[in-house]
């Protein structure tokens, strides 16, 4: 095999791994969209916020330390402890559940029956609020997130593949980050859990009922407001997982919320209501943008990953608005 071919495969594999991340964020979007018809722009900021909170709790940071110091002239920073990762994750999950309850109480309850686009803009407002709130609470510096996930290149894979290239070529084996492999496994596990949850639990069935028809679900005694809290909490959990993976990979910083924006084109490809669609859409975007950058990128100045996903989505919208898996919509008059 030629090294060029092997590089291409490596790029594709890396793209798949990045795609898993996109899928993870897109999953959170799909959950909320199905249950409430809300296109939650804040999903990315939720991932950022979850990751910041996790780091903050784990490192024993005092929330709002900067503000408190500025107001009272004190000089507090940390509680001086380091919590075990698992414990910190559980506490963060608690924060995300609290967040879901607050979102329902303070926002969703008051916006029932509004047009989708109004709800969408409300979540943009929410995203801005949370961004400021998160920074105020934990500080805006770039944080290192370490919950003990192995990282660095997989030597085993490099050893295995080094001999694949033709004799005499400068090929040192495939480089794939162990973190990406873990992320893929976690994402897989998450999807399986969510599927089982929605198929086999009472709450899961209620969720699916609400997704199918709000009115009908109400009429059989399902509480919409409770369902909303639950989906926002689950989305918060998914955001936390996504935040941990992204954070462990490239540090907890603002760009995390922008990367999460890529979930939007993922959803246009995969459809807004399909969990498998979100996964496959994510993988296509991940592989597509890495391959595009690898092949066409050098010809046009690089950094095409910034827009490739959106332009692909735009083309889809023009030529196949129903996405990959959606059915053609017949408009009733």
């Amino acid at each position: 095999m030629s090294p060029q071919f092997l590089y291409t495969i490596e790029v594709m594999l890396n793209g798949l791994m990045a795609g898993v991340m996109y899928s993870l964020v897109a999953l959170g979007f799909v959950l909320i969209f199905k249950a409430s018809g809300i296109f939650n722009y804040a999903q990315g900021v939720m991932a950022l916020f979850a990751a910041m909170t996790l780091v903050g709790i784990q490192n024993g940071q005092v929330p709002f330390a900067h503000l408190v110091n500025a107001v009272f002239g004190t000089n507090i920073h940390g509680f001086g402890w380091n919590l075990p990762a698992l414990f910190a994750i559980i506490l963060t999950l608690g924060v995300m559940i609290l967040f879901a309850i607050l979102v329902e109480r303070l926002i969703l309850k008051h916006l029932v029956n509004q047009e989708p686009i109004i709800l969408f803009m409300a979540t943009i407002g929410l995203a801005f609020f949370m961004e400021g709130f998160g920074d105020l609470m934990w500080g805006s510096d770039i944080k290192v997130l370490d919950v003990g996930i192995p990282s660095g290149g997989s030597l085993w894979l490099e050893d295995k593949t080094i001999g694949w290239a033709a004799e005499g070529s400068n090929y040192y084996g495939m480089y794939i980050d162990k973190l990406d492999i873990v992320a893929t496994l976690v994402a897989l596990l998450l999807v399986i859990t969510l599927t089982l949850f929605s198929q086999y639990t009472k709450t899961g069935r209620a969720l699916r009922a609400v997704a199918d028809d709000h009115q009908a679900a109400l009429s059989v005694g399902i509480s919409l407001r409770r369902i909303w809290v639950i989906v926002w909490a689950i989305s918060g959990f998914v955001a936390l997982v996504a935040g941990i993976m992204w954070g462990a990979k490239s540090g907890v910083q603002f760009s995390l919320s922008l990367i999460a924006l890529k979930a939007l084109p993922v959803l246009i490809l995969g459809g807004f209501t399909s969990i498998p669609g979100a996964i496959i859409g994510g993988l296509i975007i991940g592989v597509g943008e890495k391959l595009f950058e690898f092949t066409i990128g050098p010809l046009i100045g690089g950094a095409t990953e910034n827009w490739f996903a959106y332009v692909l989505a735009l083309l889809f919208l023009v030529f196949r608005p129903q996405g990959l898996f959606g059915e053609k919509i017949i408009e009733r008059v």
Binding site: A70, I118, A122, G132, L264, G302
Partner: protein, 358 residues
């Protein structure tokens, strides 16, 4: 009692369809115009010009533009920053390629170029609606910013990758560059804003404006009374992009003087303008002004209180500003989806009846 409708009869339809049917409103409007043109230029100073007045005038143009698209025609765009960048770079290329060209013409041409780009990105709007379209406009946002970053021709191969506004004059006065007098820059922007606001008002009150609103409110019904959806949506995109392009050109040439595209015209700029029209009022000319004024003044005010008054670090002030802006958006959408313009309308209705409300 003092603000009243009684006795102000209209005997012609022409009188009934004017912008300010009430005589008192008309007088107030002319007084404000006179104040803005004849008094402010003589008392303006550098701080007020650069911190408040000039950004307000320019962003009001952008906000008028986005309001035409989103408020009147119902098409949500998250690409405003990208289109402002088109205006800015078109302006830069024209300024450097034709140094003798009148600045007013440069700005208008930049607007027309942006309108053409807007048309192009507006084409998908025929088939997609709502937040699908919003995502499509994100493509414009990210692609355009990348384009201006990566293609050196746009920034004339400068080493820094920035664009810098050379000194250009208008009627013998310097409008751009380091030596431009604040009063001159102010009047330049004010004139453009006034004319564009009048045009926006005229377009929105007649046949074209009604066809935009018809598409916004009920596109199927609009079609059966003869409105061509593609033509109508594209015309909204073109007009809106023209305004936004003009705003981008002024933002770069008159206000900032130097621009790094990702910082100035990034996605946050798009959101900022969107917030202006949500807070000001969707589908309202007055709302575009009110929203722009609010979003320009609020950070200045917050900064003055928190940094200047309380002595807090600027980053904390910035975080709180984000929270206030985001929170306000949510509150406005919940409490008053028609924004400040509606509050103003209600206040005026109350005032008409005051002090005998029955």
């Amino acid at each position: 009692m003092f603000y009243r409708q009684a006795g102000d009869f209209k005997t012609t339809y022409r009188g009934d369809i004017q912008t300010f049917p009430l005589r008192q409103d008309r007088i107030a409007y002319y007084l404000m115009l006179a104040f803005a043109f004849l008094v402010v230029p003589f008392v303006i100073n550098d701080y007020w010009a650069s911190a408040v007045l000039i950004p307000f005038l320019i962003l009001a143009i952008a906000s008028l533009g986005l309001n035409i698209l989103t408020g009147y025609c119902g098409l949500v765009s998250l690409g405003t920053g990208g289109f402002m960048a088109v205006g800015a770079y078109a302006c830069y290329k024209l300024m450097t390629a034709f140094p003798d060209l009148n600045m007013m013409i440069v700005v208008l041409l930049a607007g027309f170029i942006t309108a053409a780009v807007g048309l192009l990105f507006g084409i998908p709007s025929l088939r997609i609606k709502g937040f699908y379209l919003a995502v499509a406009t994100l493509a414009a946002q990210f692609f355009l910013v990348w384009l201006f970053n990566k293609v050196p021709w746009f920034y004339n191969y400068s080493a820094s990758g920035q664009i810098n506004a050379p000194e250009r004059t208008m009627l013998g006065f310097e409008v751009t560059g380091a030596n431009a007098e604040p009063a001159v820059s102010y009047l330049f922007c004010l004139t453009i804003l006034t004319v564009l606001a009048l045009i926006a008002r005229n377009l929105t009150r007649g046949r074209i404006g009604r066809s935009w609103m018809a598409i916004r409110d009920m596109d199927i019904a609009a079609e059966i009374i003869g409105v061509n959806p593609l033509k109508t949506k594209l015309s909204a995109f073109a007009v809106s992009s023209f305004y936004i392009g003009v705003a981008g050109a002024l933002f770069f040439s008159v206000y900032l003087g130097a621009v790094e595209v990702g910082e100035v015209f990034g996605i946050n700029q798009s959101f900022l303008i969107l917030f202006m029209i949500i807070i000001g009022g969707l589908g309202s000319i007055f709302g575009s002004f009110a929203g722009a004024a609010f979003m320009v003044l609020m950070p200045v005010l917050l900064k003055n209180i928190m940094v200047g008054g309380l002595g807090w670090p600027t980053d904390i002030a910035a975080h709180i500003e984000f929270m206030v802006v985001g929170g306000l958006i949510v509150i406005f959408l919940i409490v008053e989806p028609h924004g400040l313009a509606q509050l103003w309308r209600v206040a005026k209705e109350k005032l008409l009846l005051w002090p005998f409300p029955h």
